[in-house]
Symmetry: C2
Subunit: 205 residues, 2 copies
């Protein structure tokens, strides 16, 4: 969550969002009641309404929190915009995969429960998602301007690259064939292929 | 569904699976009751059990039906295995995207409701999914053997390519920027990039 957790109220609020995330990822938004969430947190059902007006707001807050935290985490470690696009693309791919494999439940909810957002909430979440996509899109455009990337459709390359990278969170296991670093290095190589750029020396085998 | 629909029983069974698919895609498996499915089909709740022993079997039948139909559809139009791998890859990409954008609900359920499958059912569905992945993997291996593809990790390239292509079904709209053919042509180009092969003449711009 992006919120400060100074007061115990903020701590409980964070616990509410964590409990709701777990339950929704397991059962789906429509099957989870406010009563169940309260039980999971260990508060009375009525007390839950101190932290959220309703289940719809809670869902939006979880999805907005996920995307805002994603954007803030990138901003906190984003490379200098004057760096070559190739270096920025590598950083973005490593960031995206590392971030997403640690948060499979939130990634899952953010995709799966879009169907349950009210129209206004959907629009807000879509704006945040677009902001994130634009980070990658801008890197791809810069790389083409530098003459190092050669993609034919920047928007589709962006969507394809994000889908390809996010897919890791659907199959990644801690005890899998490859350690996270090796996976990320291979995806850096594949991202360069998609961008139509020279693979980095470290990523090539 | 892959089943024959000769008898009215088989027709009703197909209707049950279609109704369940719609409801589960909308609300999630845990939130949908057998009663609701019966109402959607227009039969008594008790009559539903003539077609399926329980909701778990119904979910497995939907997911198995989706994957079997996918495999059968590919088999029905699969290119000669003696054709060059490049031609087979192009055919596979076109097939995969065309197939998936027409079936967004089933694609969505097949990914989202894996969590609700019993252990044995999950294993069966995973086997079918693997069979499908192996079709692409075999094409990539053939292309490397022919010296036309240059990927560094066949398994990860397979998973990345399938995630990239399936992603289209999450954003594709009939009234979008590009007609389906143009989208598919761009994804053929991107698939060749991922495979480390020369783009086909038609796909390059």
């Amino acid at each position: 969550m992006a919120r400060k957790s100074g007061s115990s109220g903020e701590k409980t609020r964070a616990m509410v969002e964590e409990a709701a995330t777990r339950l929704i990822a397991r059962h789906g938004f429509a099957a989870v009641s406010m009563r169940q969430i309260a039980r999971e947190v260990g508060v009375q059902a009525g007390a839950l309404y101190l932290y959220t007006p309703d289940k719809q707001s809670l869902l939006k807050d979880i999805m907005r929190g996920h995307l805002q935290h994603l954007l803030e985490s990138w901003a906190a470690q984003a490379p200098d915009p004057d760096l070559p696009a190739a270096a920025r693309l590598e950083r973005f791919v490593r960031f995206h995969i590392d971030y997403h494999i640690l948060r499979a439940e939130k990634v899952f909810i953010s995709y799966m429960e879009l169907r349950n957002l009210d129209c206004d909430n959907f629009a807000e979440i879509e704006r945040l998602r677009r902001s994130y996509e634009h980070i990658l899109e801008e890197i791809l455009i810069s790389g083409a301007a530098e003459g190092v990337f050669h993609h034919t459709d920047t928007r589709l390359t962006t969507l394809a690259m994000i889908a390809m990278m996010t897919g890791v969170s659907t199959w990644y296991r801690d005890d899998g064939r490859l350690p996270p670093d090796a996976i990320t290095t291979r995806y850096v190589d594949m991202a360069f292929r998609l961008a139509g750029g020279e693979p980095l020396a470290e990523a090539a085998e």
